[in-house]
C-alpha cells in the first residue's frame, strides 16, 4: 500500500480550455522571443547544440517552441522517492497528494511568542514528532530551524539534514546554497535515501550558475529536484494572476529544456507559490484569495504538462502566533491546492512567513491534512456502501443502525477522526481542564517524544554521516566560510550533543 492520499475525482480546473491555451502560447512566445538568462556556460552550450539560439555574452538562451514541446514530453509524470525506511517510499505525481512539513527559521516560545535560534535538541525533537505524524509524508528537516544556535550558517542546513536523517526515516528535502548539495547527496546516499531538493531560481527568467550546477549534480546522482519558482506579484512578476502564470510557465519551460537536454528523462518537479505583496511595505501577503487562485492556475498548467507539483500555498501564514488566522490562511490555501491537483503540499508546522516552526502546530495541522486527505479520497461506492437493502431492512422508527453489522464494518472507513481537535462534550470539557486544541497538541507532542522511537541508523550509517559532516566542515573552513571565532563556538556547541 502506497503512502499518501489519492484524489478520487478530477482535479478542479478554474481556467477554460481557451484560457489555458492562451497561457501556454504566451509562455512559448516568451521563451522564443526573450528566453532565459542562464549563468552557466555548460548549460548554454548544450542548449546551443540542441538548436536553441544562445547569446553567450549576455548568457541568454532563446528556445524554439518545438524544442520546448519535445522536452516537456520527456518529463516523467511521476517518480518514486526512496526513503531510508522503504515503508516510507512515495510515488509523487499522477493523482497522489502528499503532505510535507512547512518551513521556519526559528524556534518559538509558546508563552511569549518570541523566536530564537534553535538548539540541536530542539531540531531532534521536531524531527521525531514529524516522523511520528501519520499524515506527514515528506520531512523538511533541511529548513526546519535554519537559524541554529552557534552553528555557522553555511553548516546549518547540513547539520539539520544529518539530524533529520537520524531521527526520521521519511524522505527529506534538501537544497543548494554554496555547494551544500555535494554533501547533502553524499549523506542521503550513505543511508540509501533519495532527496526531494529544491533548487534556487531567480525570478524573473534567470537561472543562476549555482542553481544550474546543483540541478545537474542532483540529476547525475539519479535524484529528482525541484526548481523553486515562487513569484511576488507586481515585484518579481506581473501583478495579474494570468500574467504571473504565463511567467511561471515560461520559466518552467526554460528549466525543463535545460535539464532534459542534460539528462533526458530526468525526474523534475516544480515548486511554486504565487504571493501578492503589501504595496505599503513590500511584505509578502500569504493569506489572500489571489494566492489560492494563482496556485490553482499554475497547478492546472503543470498538470497539462504532466509535471509533478510541489505547492507552497500553505507553507506559512502571516500570523506570528498559532491562532485562527494561521489556521485559515494555511488550510484554505492548502485545500485549494490539493483540490486543483497539486501533488505535494508544503504545510505542517511553519508560520510567521518563514520565521517560525512549531511541532505543536505541526501536530494540529496533521489533523487538517487528514481532513483534506479524507475529502480527496472521496466516498466509497458499491452495492454494500449504497446500503439499499439495509435501509429497507431497518425501515422507520423504532428501527436504527447502531446494532447492524454494516455500521460495525463501515463507521470509520470513509472519515478521518482528528487526534487533537476538541471533540469532547461540554460537560466533559469542564472536568478535563477546559483544554483547547493548542493545549491538547502540546500534550500530544510530549506523548510522542516519550513514546515514539524512529527507526535508528545502523552504526555504519551513523559513521558515514559523521564523515560527510566532517568533510563539509573542512571544506567550508578551508574556503574561509567559517571563521576561527565561529569555529570555536561551533565546536563548543557540538560538544553539548543533541540531548539523545
Amino acid at each position: 500500500m502506497l503512502n499518501g492520499f489519492t484524489r478520487a475525482f478530477p482535479a478542479l480546473k478554474i481556467m477554460t480550455a481557451e484560457q489555458e491555451e492562451s497561457v501556454h502560447r504566451g509562455a512559448l512566445f516568451t521563451m522564443e522571443k526573450t528566453g532565459m538568462r542562464i549563468e552557466h556556460d555548460g548549460a548554454l552550450q548544450q542548449m546551443a547544440d540542441a538548436g536553441c539560439a544562445v547569446d553567450f555574452e549576455e548568457q541568454r538562451v532563446r528556445i524554439p517552441p518545438s524544442i520546448v514541446e519535445e522536452c516537456l514530453r520527456k518529463v516523467p509524470t511521476n517518480f518514486r522517492l526512496r526513503a531510508r525506511d522503504p515503508h516510507n517510499d512515495l510515488v509523487i505525481g499522477g493523482d497522489t497528494v502528499h503532505f510535507m512539513q512547512g518551513m521556519g527559521m526559528r524556534f518559538v516560545d509558546l508563552d511569549t511568542w518570541e523566536t530564537r535560534p534553535a538548539t540541536a535538541a530542539e531540531h531532534r525533537e521536531a524531527m521525531i514528532v514529524a516522523d511520528a505524524l501519520p499524515n506527514l509524508h515528506l520531512a523538511e528537516g533541511w529548513e526546519i530551524y535554519t537559524d541554529r544556535r552557534n552553528i555557522p550558517p553555511v553548516m546549518g542546513m547540513l547539520e539539520n539534514l544529518a539530524s533529520a536523517l537520524r531521527y526520521s526515516s521519511k524522505t527529506q528535502v534538501a537544497g543548494n546554497i554554496k555547494d551544500t548539495e555535494i554533501f547533502a547527496i553524499a549523506m542521503a546516499q550513505a543511508v540509501g535515501s533519495d532527496l526531494f531538493p529544491e533548487i534556487e531560481h531567480a525570478c524573473p527568467l534567470t537561472i543562476q550558475s549555482g542553481g544550474a550546477q546543483a540541478a545537474f549534480r542532483y540529476a547525475d546522482a539519479g535524484m529528482p529536484f525541484v526548481p523553486a519558482l515562487s513569484v511576488n506579484q507586481g515585484a518579481t512578476g506581473p501583478a495579474t494572476l494570468a500574467g504571473a502564470t504565463v511567467l511561471k510557465m515560461a520559466e518552467t519551460m526554460g528549466w525543463v529544456v535545460m535539464v532534459q537536454l542534460h539528462t533526458p528523462g530526468a525526474p523534475i518537479a516544480i515548486h511554486h507559490g504565487i504571493s501578492p505583496i503589501d504595496m505599503r511595505t513590500g511584505d509578502k501577503v500569504l493569506g489572500t484569495p489571489a494566492r489560492g487562485l494563482g496556485t490553482a492556475m499554475v497547478n492546472q498548467m503543470l498538470r497539462r504538462y504532466g509535471i509533478p507539483i510541489w505547492s507552497n500555498t500553505g507553507f506559512a501564514s502571516n500570523s506570528k502566533k498559532i491562532d485562527f488566522q494561521a489556521g485559515y490562511e494555511k488550510s484554505l490555501g492548502t485545500l485549494f491546492s490539493a483540490l486543483s491537483g497539486g501533488h505535494v503540499q508544503m504545510y505542517q508546522g511553519g508560520s510567521s512567513v518563514e520565521l517560525l516552526y512549531s511541532s505543536e502546530l505541526a501536530v494540529m495541522e496533521d489533523d487538517i491534512a487528514g481532513w483534506i486527505g479524507g475529502v480527496l479520497q472521496g466516498p466509497i461506492f458499491n452495492d454494500e456502501t449504497l446500503a439499499i437493502d439495509l435501509i429497507n431492512e431497518v425501515g422507520p422508527i423504532p428501527g436504527h443502525y447502531m446494532a447492524t453489522a454494516h455500521t460495525r464494518k463501515w463507521w470509520n472507513q470513509e472519515d478521518y477522526f482528528p487526534q487533537v481537535a476538541d471533540t469532547e462534550s461540554y460537560a466533559s470539557w469542564t472536568t478535563t481542564g477546559k483544554r483547547d486544541m493548542l493545549e491538547r497538541a502540546k500534550e500530544k507532542v510530549e506523548e510522542i517524544l516519550a513514546t515514539h522511537k524512529p527507526l535508528p541508523l545502523t552504526g555504519g550509517e551513523e559513521e558515514a554521516i559523521d564523515e560527510v559532516l566532517k568533510e563539509a566542515r573542512d571544506y567550508y573552513r578551508s574556503k574561509g566560510m567559517i571563521t576561527d571565532a565561529e569555529w570555536t563556538a561551533y565546536m563548543d556547541e557540538l560538544s553539548l550533543g543533541d540531548g539523545r
Binding site: P153, K178, E200, Q208, G234, A235, T281, G282, E354
Partner: protein
C-alpha cells in the same frame, strides 16, 4: 516660462513619465535655468510622492515609478553641474548590494531607487556581491553609507564578514553601515556591528538621512 517648464517637470515625475521628465529637464537647462533649480524641482516632486506614500494615499508601485522617472532625468542634471565646473550637492554617497550567495534583488533595488530620488548618489553593486567587491568599491568611491541586504539566514552572516573586512581594511570608521532584508532584525544588526537597520526600503532612506545628520 522657466517656472512653467519646472512645473511641467515636477508634473512629469508625478505622472511617472521618465522620458518626458528627461526632455523637460533638458529643455529647462538649455534655456538657461540653474541646474540647482532643476534638481530642486525633481526632488520636491519625489518628496511630494514620498509624503503621499507615507500618508497611505499612494503605494509602492507609484513611489517606485516616480523615483525611476526622477532617476532617468538625473544624469542630464548631473552633466549640467559638471559642465558648469561644479558638482551637485548630494545628500550623501551610498554603496549598496545584496551580499554573496544571495540573489534577492527587489528590496535592494527599491531602496536604491528611493535613495536616488531622495538626492543620494547611489552605486548599486547588484546581487551576490562578494566581500572583496564591497571593499574595492568602498576604497575607490569613499561612500558615506554602505547598505547591505540579505534575505536568507545562511547569507545574513555575510553582512558581518563585510563589516569585519571593512574594519580590517581601515575603512569602517569613515562610513555608516545599514542593513536590511528578510533574514535581518534589529538585534542581529546590533550583533554584527551595523549602524542601523530598517525592515522597509522607505525606512532605509529615512535611516540613511538620520545617520548622516549625526
Amino acid at each position: 516660462m522657466q517656472d512653467q517648464t519646472l512645473g511641467d517637470l515636477a508634473k512629469a515625475v508625478k505622472e511617472y513619465d521618465g522620458a518626458r521628465a528627461t526632455a523637460l529637464a533638458e529643455q529647462a537647462l538649455d534655456s538657461g535655468t540653474d541646474p540647482k533649480d532643476v534638481l530642486a524641482a525633481l526632488t520636491d516632486a519625489i518628496r511630494e510622492v514620498g509624503d503621499a506614500f507615507g500618508a497611505g494615499e499612494l503605494f509602492l508601485p507609484e513611489l517606485v515609478s516616480a523615483a525611476e522617472a526622477t532617476q532617468q532625468a538625473m544624469p542630464i542634471v548631473e552633466a549640467a553641474f559638471k559642465a558648469g565646473g561644479g558638482s551637485r550637492t548630494s545628500a550623501g554617497k551610498v554603496v549598496a548590494g545584496t551580499v554573496a550567495g544571495d540573489i534577492h534583488n527587489i528590496g535592494k533595488t527599491i531602496l536604491c531607487t528611493l535613495l536616488t530620488a531622495d538626492g543620494f548618489e547611489v552605486i548599486d553593486l547588484g546581487i551576490d556581491v562578494p566581500v572583496d567587491k564591497f571593499i574595492e568599491v568602498v576604497r575607490e568611491e569613499q561612500p558615506d553609507v554602505v547598505a547591505m541586504s540579505a534575505l536568507l539566514t545562511i547569507t545574513a552572516q555575510e553582512q558581518k564578514r563585510v563589516i569585519a573586512a571593512l574594519r580590517d581594511a581601515g575603512l569602517r570608521d569613515d562610513l555608516k553601515i545599514i542593513v536590511g532584508g528578510g533574514a535581518i532584525s534589529q538585534p542581529f544588526a546590533d550583533s554584527i556591528g551595523a549602524d542601523g537597520y530598517s525592515p522597509t526600503a522607505p525606512g532605509g532612506v529615512t535611516l540613511a538621512r538620520e545617520l548622516l545628520a549625526g
